[in-house]
């Protein structure tokens, strides 16, 4: 009770002296404010990137293996991969027939074309030749209309399903269903529009909302297929059997490719996990560098606090002498100055937090979805108070050790 009262009193005294020096306090806090804004923004941006990435990756499913010519993450000798043969549609069909346990086998082929509806043109849109199996390996479904059917694939129908961004840009005020648009020089009829999925384009990944899906057979007929590389998505019967399933898949591919036991695989099996792993390690490095830099700015802010606290102690030497003469113990003086520096830093932390909310709102509107998590907000305030203690300690310690007689004599 008694010590609590003394703590409260030290707190009050600390605030009192701050009020006497408002401008100085605010300027000192500015260093902390900038540091906190930098730290929170870095952490929030990293979080936002991460969430964005995970969202778009989860659209692809983690129990799906992707057979392709090249690994997604190329390590080692690039030329060895380059000389591998393309995956062909025939190979994909063979694989579909042999992988009996697969829940879905979906070959895809892609290119980039300009698309046109009336006078609206969009350049460089990803055109994805695919099959009805797409619905089984990816999570997105059509928002209006339908997806491609087996029938479309079988009979090379000139139909397409468009992503939500394509719809917004090409068919601004028009119902796109059953409209005919041009992909390259070919005409396709729109039969469906996909729901919005969010984009991984920020990382150079696919932007699912800007894709146009056409039957793979029509794709080959319209744009040619023999020289193109095919990717095959193969969905495992269950997440648990993924490893066995991958082993089986490699075996079947080797048979299709007629590889001898001594030959190395001339194809790659990819999965989302490897992408996630790479993303996490890259993000880890980026976040670490960001935090180191922003921590330095906080540190500089802390030095500013320490500096001003030394000034404050020197200015108030006489006051410290008076307080000691009438019975203030060392810890009372220590607490008084510690609370003062903590108050400066807590103020800086709170204003910095408010600033960070502003910056985050801006990022959210202009760049990508981002929000400050309560954890980060709390951490920021705790860190700033910690800086107050850390950098206020030496000046406060100096104040508490002053000799009362010398302090009283100070003018």
């Amino acid at each position: 009770m008694k010590s609590l009262r003394q703590v409260l009193e030290s707190l009050r005294i600390g605030f009192d002296s701050l009020r006497a020096n408002k401008a100085r306090g605010v300027l000192t806090a500015l260093g902390i404010i900038i540091g906190i804004v930098a730290v929170i923004t870095t952490m929030t941006a990293a979080n936002g990137l991460s969430n964005n990435f995970k969202e778009s990756v989860s659209a692809l499913g983690s129990d799906v293996l992707y057979v392709s010519r090249m690994p997604w993450i190329v390590t080692g000798n690039f030329f060895e991969f380059r000389n591998r043969p393309n995956l062909t549609l025939e190979e994909a069909e063979l694989l579909a027939r042999r992988m009996r346990s697969a829940r879905a086998v979906n070959p895809t082929i892609n290119t980039s074309k300009s698309i046109k509806y009336r006078s609206e043109v969009i350049e460089n849109v990803e055109i994805l030749g695919t099959t009805d199996q797409q619905m089984l390996v990816a999570s997105a479904v059509p928002e209006i209309g339908r997806f491609l059917t087996r029938f479309d694939i079988r009979f090379n129908k000139s139909v397409c399903v468009i992503g939500s961004t394509v719809r917004e840009r090409l068919f601004e005020n028009v119902d796109p269903l059953n409209k005919t648009m041009k992909i390259g020089r070919r005409r396709f009829r729109v039969v469906g529009v996909m729901e919005k999925q969010g984009s991984a384009a920020f990382f150079g990944g696919p932007d699912f909302d800007s894709q146009v899906f056409v039957p793979i057979t029509s794709f080959v007929k319209a744009f040619g297929g023999s020289h193109r590389d095919i990717n095959v998505a193969v969905k495992a019967p269950s997440q648990a059997s993924l490893a066995d399933f991958e082993f089986e898949l490699i075996g079947e591919m080797r048979k299709i490719r007629k590889l001898r036991p001594s030959d190395r695989d001339n194809f790659s099996i990819n999965q989302m996990d490897s992408l996630v792993g790479m993303f996490n390690s890259v993000m880890g490095v980026v976040v670490t560098i960001g935090l180191v830099i922003t921590t330095i700015s906080l540190f500089v802010g802390g030095i500013g606090v320490m500096n001003i606290m030394y000034v404050s102690v020197t200015e108030r030497t006489k006051e410290i002498g008076i307080r000691k003469a009438i019975g203030a113990k060392r810890r009372a003086i220590l607490a008084q100055f510690l609370f003062e520096s903590m108050a400066i830093c807590a103020f800086g932390g709170l204003v910095g937090l408010a600033g960070a909310f502003g910056v985050t709102a801006l990022i959210d509107r202009l760049v990508m979805p981002a929000t400050i998590s309560p954890g980060i907000a709390t951490l920021a305030v705790v860190i700033s108070m910690g800086i107050g203690v850390l950098f206020g300690f030496l000046p406060a310690w100096k104040a508490s050790r002053l000799n009362p007689i010398e302090a009283l004599r100070y003018e």
């Binding site: 009262r5 008076i322 000691k324 003469a325 009438i326 019975g327 007689i405």
Partner: protein
């Protein structure tokens, strides 16, 4: 006995040259005595006052304040003794300029750990006693010298000290205000307080009942003052 000092020595080391400010001073002061300490500058007057006020420990010798040995105490223990047993009145008032009169007066109570309600009551009473109850919310720079010194006296009294230590309390005041402060001290003495007054003005020293003169770190004389003779007569 309020103060019991035996063979107090205080030595200041200055670049290996040692200066003896006090050389075996022995002194006792009884309860409710009114003592003036006089002496030219360099006589050891301030040093003695600092030791009596527990601001500075002696180099050697023993000092007990109300039967408690304070000569070997550590800094925080001395702070507690200063807080509870000694009331200081300084020549330069030594009030905290940023804080109002009330807060200045309640400060010793805060360091003692007294509750807010009690603090308010005691501080208000003390300010009333020195006639400044209506100035509670003022800040020291808004007051006259005499008022400031009365605030300081109120602050010195809130913890009911065993000893009131006044160091040249009228040194920064004009003669009229000075004599007002001196008569306030007389009243406090009449109320039963023990007062030690450090001064170099014989006129002020006459208020005390006993005058101790210091010279070169030793007590030169220790005599009853004429005031006492007058009052007892």
């Amino acid at each position: 006995m309020t103060i019991e000092m035996t063979d107090i020595v205080k030595t200041y080391g200055m670049n290996s040259v040692e200066v003896q400010a006090l050389r075996r001073v022995s002194l006792s002061v009884a309860k409710n005595e009114y003592v003036a300490i006089m002496g030219p500058s360099g006589s050891g007057k301030s040093t003695l006052m600092n030791i009596i006020g527990c601001l500075d420990p002696p180099t050697s010798g023993s000092y007990s304040l109300e039967g408690e040995d304070v000569s070997t105490m550590k800094e925080d223990q001395l702070a507690e003794v200063r807080n509870q047993k000694i009331g200081f009145v300084f020549q330069t008032f030594n009030l905290i300029a940023r804080s109002n009169v009330f807060h200045n007066v309640e400060l010793p109570l805060i360091y003692k750990g007294v509750s807010v309600a009690k603090r308010r009551k005691i501080a208000e009473e003390a300010l009333e006693a020195v006639g400044l109850a209506d100035r509670m919310k003022h800040k020291p720079p808004e007051l006259s010298g005499g008022e400031r010194q009365r605030v300081a006296i109120a602050r010195a009294l809130v913890n009911k000290p065993s000893l009131l230590l006044a160091d040249e309390p009228t040194g920064n005041l004009d003669s009229t205000t000075g004599s007002e402060i001196m008569s306030l001290l007389d009243d406090l003495h009449a109320d039963g307080n023990t007062i030690i007054l450090v001064t170099h003005e014989p006129e002020m020293a006459r208020h005390a009942h006993r005058i101790i003169r210091l010279k070169d770190g030793v007590i030169e004389s220790d005599t009853a003052s004429s005031a006492r003779a007058k009052r007892t007569a």
